[in-house]
Structure formats: structure tokens, C-alpha cells
């Protein structure tokens, strides 16, 4: 039962943290609860579909379908996170200024909420399909141990939900003025880690086989599949033995997002002071 709890918890950490960060990043935006719930629901539905068709998916693209699929949805999430950060950099200030203009708020909020709901959906889909396969596997074996294992898995899911709560309420203790900066930073690192992971999936599928040599190995210090390793893997993209291509993707994503944010922010400050409707 404990082993099932740990396996499921390890799988849902990523989705749990992402939900927490998204909730904190959208503080004050109406309908965000609905958007996150839609993301989770859609992700779960997708996870069941992926689990049911795991075999068919794997056979696509000369046996590299699973890798390509994982890389594609990770890159989609990277794009959505980038969009959110850039959009917030250009409009966030007005949003804060006109927080009381409710009508305006709904419009600005909904735009980027869609992107973040997709990010949540992708996170739930990716990890969820493995949880579904794992729990289905032990349930299919039957017997009392199976019941205990499924119960353990259920507790693992609850623990993942608590993770969201911890992340969310932890972030909310940050003063409102600094919260935007912190969540943008977290989202940038989240995106960089996902981009690096997408590169690994592409390489495992047989593509992008450049700079595959390991740069360093910190596996002796922190294993990537331990709970704390998994936490850091999600939050800052920790990899115990990164290769060159992974590092390039990681750094390029950070530089790209920061530059884009700077660009739109500057254009906004130097441009004519028009009030955005």
C-alpha cells in the first residue's frame, strides 16, 4: 500500500505543483477555478484515452510515437507558458491598475487563462496516463493486496492534491506586489525544464541526436526519481546527468522568455500612452 502511495505520489507531484503555481499566478482573475477544473478534467479524460490506446500510440512513427507525443505536448505547454508570461509582462501592469474595472478584468483574464488551463491539462494528461495504467494493472490482478494497493494509490492522489494546496498557499504568503515577479520566474523555470525534457523525449525517439554526451552527474547527491529530485525536476528542471542538448534547450528557453518579456514591456512603456480597452 505504501509503495503504491509513493509511486502515484511521485507521478502526480508535477501536476500538483503546476496547478498550485497556476492558481497563484491567476490570483484575482475571475473564473480561474473553472479554467483549472476544466484543465484537470480534460487532462484526466485525455489520460484515460492515452492509457487505453497506449499500444497504438507507441507503434506510430516506427515505434517512436510515445516519445513524439510526449515531446509535442511538452512543447505545447512551453509555448503556452511563454505566451502567458509575455502577455502578463505587457498587460499585467494595467490589469493591476484597473483591478476594479470588473468588465475589463474578465476579458484580460480569460485570454491567458485558456493558455494556463492547457498547461494544467497537459501536466495531468502526461502523469495521469501512467497513474491510470498503474492502478488499472494492480486492480486487474484482483485480491486483497490489490484493494490495499488501489487505496494506497488513492492516498497518493490526495497527497498530490495537498501538494497543490501547499504550493498555492505558500505562494500567497508573498506580498501581492512581488507575487507577479515570483510567479513569472517560476513559470519561466517550469517552461525551461519542460523544454529540456522534450529534447530528451525527441532523442529517445531517435531525433535531434546532437550533444548527447553527459555534462555532469549529480546522481550520487540527488536521484531524479526520488521525491525531492522529482520536486526539483518539476520546479527548476533538475536533471541528474544532463547532456548538452538538454542544457541548450533549457538556457535558450529562459533567455527567449526573458527577452520577449523585456521587449513587450519596453514597447509598452515607450509607446503612446493609450488606454487598452
Amino acid at each position: 500500500m505504501i509503495s503504491a502511495l509513493l509511486i502515484v505520489f511521485r507521478e502526480v507531484i508535477e501536476a500538483g505543483l503546476i496547478v498550485g503555481i497556476v492558481l497563484a499566478a491567476t490570483t484575482g482573475v475571475p473564473l480561474r477555478g473553472r479554467a483549472v477544473a476544466l484543465g484537470v478534467g480534460g487532462g484526466l479524460l485525455g489520460a484515460c484515452l492515452v492509457a487505453a490506446f497506449a499500444g497504438e500510440l507507441a507503434n506510430l512513427f516506427e515505434g517512436s510515437g510515445q516519445e513524439l507525443f510526449n515531446a509535442a505536448i511538452l512543447l505545447l505547454a512551453v509555448a503556452m507558458l511563454t505566451w502567458h508570461n509575455v502577455w502578463m509582462a505587457s498587460h499585467g501592469r494595467e490589469m493591476a491598475r484597473e483591478l476594479k474595472a470588473a468588465g475589463h478584468q474578465v476579458v484580460t483574464g480569460e485570454r491567458t487563462l485558456t493558455a494556463l488551463a492547457i498547461v494544467v491539462g497537459v501536466a495531468v494528461l502526461r502523469e495521469g496516463s501512467e497513474v491510470v495504467l498503474f492502478l488499472y494493472g494492480i486492480a486487474a490482478q484482483g485480491g486483497t493486496t490489490a484493494t490495499a494497493m488501489v487505496a494506497g494509490g488513492g492516498l497518493g492522489l490526495v497527497a498530490g492534491g495537498l501538494m497543490s494546496g501547499l504550493m498555492y498557499f505558500g505562494l500567497l504568503t508573498i506580498p501581492a506586489g512581488k507575487l507577479f515577479g515570483v510567479t513569472s520566474g517560476l513559470i519561466t523555470l517550469l517552461a525551461a525544464g519542460m523544454a529540456a525534457q522534450a529534447v530528451i523525449f525527441l532523442q529517445n525517439g531517435g531525433w535531434l541526436l546532437y550533444f548527447t554526451g553527459t555534462l555532469w552527474d549529480t546522481g550520487w547527491l540527488l536521484k531524479e526519481d526520488s521525491i525531492s529530485g522529482k520536486l526539483l525536476h518539476t520546479l527548476v528542471g533538475y536533471s541528474q546527468a544532463p547532456n548538452g542538448a538538454q542544457l541548450i534547450a533549457y538556457l535558450a528557453t529562459i533567455v527567449g522568455i526573458v527577452l520577449l518579456m523585456k521587449m513587450v514591456n519596453q514597447r509598452h512603456q515607450t509607446g503612446p500612452r493609450v488606454k487598452h480597452a
Binding site: I7, S64, S129, G137, I138, N243
Partner: protein, 104 residues
């Protein structure tokens, strides 16, 4: 930029190792559980999952996470590995499904 990425992705066809190494997963154990590969050159494992339910071939040191469904198979590409030992496991049954890749 997009074109360049697409070109990179698809002009480079998947690098195939000469002979895939066949590994079976049965009763949540790997046969063989010790897999020897040549160091510094890519190789491929074809994993046949003979069990009824799925498992995930998982190895942080090999950088592989691959779900293989029940009664199906999956190809696992290994990059050129420096000499050394690379443990792997079937994540859903980690108490029994353990193995190691030895590059030499």
C-alpha cells in the same frame, strides 16, 4: 526558424542500432536483467512485455521513461554510453522488475 527546426527533426532519420537487444518482462521480472552493450555507441533494446498489464521502463541514468503495454513491445533507444553501469526498473513493479545495462 520553424522551418529549420522541422528540417532538423525530419531530415535526421532515427538512428538505428545494428541489432536490437531482445529483453522480456515476465512475472514482473526482466529476462535477461543484465544487458551488455558496447560503450560509446548507440544501441537499442526491444522490450517484450509478456505480462497482462503495462509497465514503465524507467531509468534516470539512461534518461528513459517508456510505457510498454501488456502483451506488447516497445523499442528503447540508448544513446552512446560511456563505460559504466546504468540501472533500470519497471516502475510499476519496482520490487521485482530490476535490471542493469553495462556499457563496456
Amino acid at each position: 526558424m520553424k522551418k529549420l527546426i522541422l528540417a532538423l527533426l525530419f531530415a535526421v532519420t532515427p538512428a538505428l542500432a545494428a541489432e536490437p537487444i531482445v529483453v522480456h518482462l515476465k512475472g514482473h521480472k526482466f529476462y535477461p536483467s543484465t544487458i551488455k552493450v558496447k560503450a560509446n555507441q548507440p544501441s537499442m533494446i526491444t522490450l517484450f512485455n509478456d505480462d497482462a498489464t503495462a509497465d514503465e521502463f524507467d531509468s534516470p541514468s539512461l534518461k528513459v521513461e517508456k510505457v510498454v503495454g501488456g502483451h506488447s513491445k516497445g523499442n528503447i533507444r540508448l544513446r552512446a554510453l560511456p563505460p559504466g553501469k546504468y540501472p533500470f526498473m519497471g516502475e510499476f513493479h519496482a520490487s521485482t522488475a530490476q535490471g542493469v545495462v553495462i556499457a563496456e
